[in-house]
Point group: C2
């Protein structure tokens, strides 16, 4: 600039202005391109607003603890369920959230909260997990569950069990007291017994409602004209505790009239359950075969870690696009390391509830 001023004559005032104008253009172009560059380096920024979460808490106001539960996706849409049954569900979900709050608000861990909530839903005949599980094609109950600790990436699962009252507690015992991640059938039952867990007769899991469902579907499938198979009712919980640790768990009876020995996504780490302090905690529910093939729970974590998506954007991409395009019905719940949550589902309903430090329990069944 100094050299320019030194050399210019009297009538070159306008030319000088032109040169100044050119420099301004350089500056503005530079700033604009920097702006575009930054938006590409942080692709999540454009998607953080895409949230249909009940509680969307930006990291600047991270809650001390967060708990999200589900009692399965599917079932009839709004108005399709008797009002008193609907109330039983919302009351139970409310009760489960309060029990989880009791754990987390008193400094309990996310693993404790997840196990506590899932045990309560396993013990309730309302849900397709523990007591109230659906029947296999042979008219038996075969239960699956898994749990994962986001701090250590340790995990535990049981599958195809018929005598363990609370499969989620057995899954946690596999994680904490064995050298393995997954035990099935008689092996899981033997281990649960050795660990002093409550063992019940297979008949404990019987409920008339599920037996009637089974008989209907079984008859239809025998005649080769099965209508839609009720798959709803899997339960799950995800939590962030006061120590910043994430955990996820899922428990199910699978799908009505499933083949003997069929395993769905619920006990599969990465498919039905995943937790990692670096990203999120996920519990899924839906048509398990598709959830396995799409590695659903881990896919959300990978989309966050590798592609920079927000939890909510990643979860909606998987549920609303990937799964829906394959005709796979279901949903999931998730919480990330900052306490943001997500609850997407592509079915007519998903039994779900959320609570966090300083907030009230919120229970929903139908789309917001």
């Amino acid at each position: 600039m100094k050299r320019t001023i030194f050399f210019i004559g009297n009538d070159s005032r306008f030319a000088f202005r032109v040169s100044l104008f050119a420099f301004r253009v350089t500056q503005i172009t530079f700033y604009l391109i920097c702006l575009v560059l930054l938006s590409f380096l942080n692709p999540a920024s454009g998607q953080n607003n895409d949230s249909s979460s009940i509680l969307h808490s930006p990291s600047s106001t991270r809650p001390t603890w967060v708990l999200v539960i589900h009692g399965g996706a599917g079932g009839p849409g709004k108005g399709g369920m008797p009002a008193d049954l609907e109330k039983q569900y919302t009351d139970k979900l409310q009760e489960v959230l309060e029990a989880g709050k009791e754990v987390l608000s008193k400094g309990g861990t996310s693993l404790d909260a997840v196990e506590t909530c899932i045990r309560m839903m396993e013990d309730s005949p309302l849900f397709n997990a523990g007591k109230g599980a659906v029947f296999t094609e042979e008219g038996k109950n075969e239960l699956d569950a898994s749990i994962m600790d986001g701090k250590t990436l340790k995990a535990g699962a049981v599958a195809g069990v018929s005598t363990i009252k609370n499969p989620i507690t057995a899954a946690r015992a596999v994680m904490e007291k064995s050298k393995h991640v997954m035990l099935i059938d008689g092996g899981a039952e033997k281990f649960a017994k050795e660990q002093g867990l409550e063992i019940v007769k297979p008949s404990y899991f019987y409920t008339k409602k599920r037996w009637d469902e089974y008989e209907k579907v079984h008859q239809q499938e025998m005649k080769g004209k099965a209508e839609e198979n009720p798959k709803h009712g899997t339960v799950g919980a995800v939590a962030l505790d006061a120590y910043g640790n994430l955990a996820a768990g899922t428990s199910t009876g699978g799908m009505t009239n499933k083949m003997k020995g069929r395993i769905g996504d619920s006990p599969i780490i990465g498919a039905g359950t995943y937790a990692n302090n670096a990203t999120c905690a996920i519990s899924a529910t839906g048509h398990g075969e598709f959830f396995i093939r799409n590695v659903v729970a881990y896919d959300i974590s990978a989309l966050m870690e590798y592609k920079g998506l927000s939890l909510d954007a990643a979860a909606h991409l998987v549920v609303d696009q990937k799964l829906k395009s394959q005709g796979a019905d279901g949903g999931l719940i998730g919480v990330d390391k900052n306490g943001n949550i997500t609850l997407p589902f592509n079915t007519k309903a998903m039994f779900r509830g959320t609570i966090r430090s300083g907030g009230k329990a919120i229970v929903n069944i139908y789309p917001d």
Copy 2:
């Protein structure tokens, strides 16, 4: 520019040059920033050269078909195995590759090649899969296998079976002939029988070598002083066929002295096996619990799809960094949609072989 030329006087020549110079600066800045922007939009470009593959075939010279097999990672390092046993392994791997070539060169599918190769290794007592499987803590054989079709994302798996001669064929039947992805134990065996698959007595799987291994480890663990547990021997295959379709499969007896009902990564879609025409086909072998928790096979696909890594860079990141940092030993084989392959392992040895259209079979045991 017209206005500028119209107004400038005689002695303003230099000022005009300055204005021109400023425009050039604008242009150059613009081009430079565009260049930076483009490199960020295509992060894979910088990593495609990082390959330690035996066969690295850039997409410009994509082979018609590619086959990679493994017979497990682990075991003693170079010089630790009798020469005649080493020859038995290399001869068998060579024979398996030739059989796979026979399938693929005659227009067979990647699924056919994967099943053919794994069946041969299951039938050989050399490997820890099918005949020659290791024993559980109860002195029994419990076999797991899975297979996945990269074209349809369909998958099949069996786990904890004791009477199915070829678990990989049962896994394929689950994928193609049932509504499920995973069947375990008695349910898988019932289904395999119904499908007309070969059923054997549990004693068929006995080999003296594995029994001796079991007795040694079992005694050590009973005394609470177990040495390193031999986990090697899982088998697997991945292939790209002439139609551009990928497939992957894995079969195993698990780990010696495992608990009854223990399931490792081999039958878990996303952990031990994954295939997707959009990315790659993977079969893993190693300490299964870590491979489940790290969702190893799908993680490589996600690193390729979401982070733009090459197959080889993704595979080495997972095996050499993620798994190694957790003390998890093992390896894997992979082929991508362009025929590039990868064979990373963090153990002293991995039994492995590769062949592709127009090429010769290459068999290796120790690090290159």
